[in-house]
Symmetry: C2
Subunit: 508 residues, 2 copies
């Protein structure tokens, strides 16, 4: 009996025994009528409990491969031969899978995004890398109450298939939520999506084919660059300065190209934290009208304003239905539900509905139902009120730490909302070199080049202050500043290019 | 004051007032310094409560548009002019959105899938249309317990971003679950997806580009036809008979074409309920090996066997790693969570990971965590044991009702598992005509042509018995048989083509 057990395998011993015996039956090593060893004897041979062998035999019997007879013992059934896979006539070559992938698929590789997700998992790290909300703000108790009180009363509805557009009650709530932000819309103009990342993916599926032009701010959200790249788009970039997207440069681009859309994060942009000024917003809309180009407004952070009044979204200012609006619960509440929404003209919502039907039928009913209950109890507005204060404090702590520890040549902006500081490194210091040194000191951030379409950003870093516990922010900044100083000293001992007076605006 | 309130709108009255005043300020109708009417007076003019106007003014103040001064009343702030959107110089033309969509997007239209989702929502209908599990089997109490007991102890983890591949603990469970079904795999070879529909979408994203050939069974799952069509694939079809995919015909196709993969539902196929015979499975694998073609095995129903021993999946029989295996919790537990999984060779899992990262970052952490807790308590195996009995009874009730009420010329198969009966209509009766008559009688099913790639299936229907409460199955079948008889009578009074003796095998 040639059974070899791997005691370090994740597969149970009884399953290893069962699978190996099955294989021996299938390959006719144990032919029909073959008598298997008694359970107790096999258990002793293999050094396992008798119950392990009993379970293995029970499974094999359930599979119809063996049968037990009093007196005769356990034998291989005649019908078991049917299950035998004959060896192929010619040797089987392993498949060369990459020959089967399409030409676009190689454009999907996006290491920066993987890095962010991985960084979240490391416990002992002070991470300013992932753009996630603060764990300590999650309203767990509220969600636990919704669950326990209402699942039983729900009659199973939260576990059913549901509409591709999303639960009507949630879309109704969001129509009101949007109206309170100056976007007058109807539930029929809203589709629920699995996070705004899915919104971008569906957008590409509907609008883009290889060679199509799209316009993005630079720097911009790396997940958007990833999706547009994977779709084979020609990505045209417009720089972002301290007043947001540079509309003068946009105009030159629109005069020469016919992009499918302009992708903009108008408020508390990722990664710069910048908010587009009012006059730029107006100019952007007017350019969209003049050149007949849709705008895709990604407003993941707009609700997270600190002390200024809420900024009006492009969608709220758009009288001519040129804006497709995207938002998400991931930043304002928590990301694990994977829920966001799109507001768009009816004909465009119809296309999103079709694309989403193919993509995943609909977003989870269970989580939509949970969040609807949460929102209906006015808990979202209450939550937003709390987190705005929280993030204001965290931003201030980070700013104070930077003022305290910053070596010469490091500069940064002061965001009025959102999650991010965008920093210009001292001349001659590379963000990846800094990340490597910082990792040794157990602190992480994202190097700026992740947010650039081709080259650029090697001298910038994104610091997310929202996620990190407030009491570790100062320590994290201290470590980054120490890493900076160490690199500068090592470099200035070998070269002379570094001039501490040369402070650069991080947006150039 | 030109404010017009729509009392039937879903938008609150206070928001309507606020939005209209804001627009009047932005268009300079109310210039900076303009004095708004006192709250009480405006309330009387509009016929609303004073508190409604108070709330509107409060929002406008929070937006930074107006300010209140004791003695002076409420006036428009000077800075408000910044928010003014100038009218564009030239008239704005509405966007012709369809000119922006890509060439593939028009292939997404798939009315049958929308119909299924819609049918589920109608309460007074006896529906054999949607392929969904039985609501009465959903283990609500178990899930309610998991929620209330564990969310608080979870420290927020279920609401966080998580790995694109899925929770490791869930993949560990599934590796064991697969091993118990003869598929020896590791958590590293498994990716969690948002239902098997997403698996198909990712598959298309990785493997297909316009013009690529794929092989499917005919009839087959309409969601697969939809995705492959939308990807611009050339879909080659192999008929299904009572022993499953006709491997002889497949061989002829493989000799002439080089498909990217063969898509097969090997067990309790949707829509036919048919299970591929053992010799066909072996032949299919050998053809895949000989012609170097991957197989995509969609095994959504394999666990729902009735009285026979579990059928071995293609993946379990595949010694040479040619099979990508797809399954889902949607049919064996419930669909509202949107969770499924793929088992594949490592290099292929890497590609799925990239594609999924772009598609939605990862499947919901919350629902993955819920189902992991459920599975860890051995509740899935217990649940499967219960539902197998349940569906056996429902199938039997439907078969008995058909025997009792069937008019001549109607025939059907006897599935040994899964959700579906596949029926051949009497000669000359069209499935869509029947559906229309049946709908009048408040009973629904899916016409066969939805499951065909081009033409075919107009004389067949799919009856799903899993979903419907057992006590309404007989009534539903009675109504369909009455509809059939009425159509036959109407037709035979005008034409003579119908011969009741002409029973046809539903697989031809």
């Amino acid at each position: 009996m040639r059974i070899i057990l791997d005691r370090e395998s994740k597969i149970s011993l009884y399953l290893q025994i069962r699978n190996q015996i099955r294989r021996l039956i299938q390959t006719h090593t144990f032919p029909p009528g073959y008598c298997l060893p008694p359970e107790r004897k096999l258990a002793t041979t293999l050094g396992v409990n008798r119950s392990t062998v009993v379970n293995a035999y029970r499974e094999l019997e359930a599979d119809g491969l063996i049968e037990s007879h009093v007196g005769k013992g356990t034998i291989v059934k005649p019908m078991a031969i049917l299950e035998n896979v004959k060896e192929p006539d010619i040797p089987v070559q392993p498949l060369i899978w990459k020959d089967f992938y399409n030409r676009q698929s190689e454009k999907m590789y996006n290491p920066a995004l993987s890095n962010i997700l991985d960084h979240l998992a490391q416990d002992d790290l002070i991470s300013f890398a992932a753009g996630a909300p603060a764990l300590e703000t999650y309203p767990l108790e509220k969600f636990a109450q919704i669950n326990s009180n209402l699942i039983m009363k729900s009659q199973g509805y939260p576990f059913e298939y549901s509409s591709t557009l999303g639960l009507y009650s949630l879309r109704e709530y969001l129509a009101e939520f949007m109206a309170a932000r100056g976007i007058e819309t109807q539930p029929e103009n809203i589709i629920i999506i699995s996070g705004s990342q899915q919104g971008l993916d569906l957008l590409a599926k509907i609008f883009l084919e290889p060679g199509d032009a799209v316009v993005v701010e630079e720097p911009t959200y790396l997940g958007a660059i990833g999706v547009f790249n994977a779709a084979g788009a020609h990505i045209l970039t417009v720089p972002v300065d301290e007043n947001g997207l540079c509309t003068d440069i946009l105009e030159q681009i629109l005069a020469r190209h016919r992009p499918k859309f302009i992708y903009s994060q108008s408020t508390f942009q990722n990664p710069t934290g910048v908010t587009m000024a009012s006059d730029r917003r107006m100019k952007l809309l007017q350019l969209a009208y003049r050149y007949h180009v849709p705008i895709v407004e990604d407003d993941a952070y707009g609700e997270l304003y600190y002390d200024t009044p809420r900024v009006q979204s492009l969608k709220a200012m758009d009288d001519y239905n040129h804006v497709i609006y995207l938002s998400t619960f991931s930043k304002i509440l928590f990301p694990g539900l994977r829920l966001g929404w799109i507001v768009a003209p009816s004909s465009v919502i119809d296309m999103f509905e079709l694309a989403k039907q193919h993509a995943d039928l609909h977003s989870g009913t269970t989580v939509q139902w949970l969040i609807t209950e949460f929102c209906r109890q006015s808990l979202l507005e209450e939550h937003l009120h709390n987190v705005r204060d929280k993030y204001t404090s965290k931003r201030n702590v980070m700013l104070r730490a930077l003022e305290k520890y910053s070596p010469p040549g490091l500069s940064w902006n002061v965001p009025k909302g959102g999650f991010y500081l965008w920093c210009q490194l001292p001349l001659g210091i590379n963000a990846t070199t800094l990340l490597s040194k910082a990792s040794e000191k157990k602190v992480a951030f994202l190097p700026g080049d992740a947010f650039y379409v081709s080259t650029g950003g090697q001298d910038k870093i994104r610091l997310c202050y929202s996620r990190c516990p407030q009491e570790t922010i100062e320590e994290g900044i201290l470590r980054i500043c120490e890493a900076l100083t160490e690199i500068s000293q090592a470099q200035s001992s070998t070269q002379n290019s570094y001039n501490p007076k040369n402070r650069i605006n991080p947006f150039i």
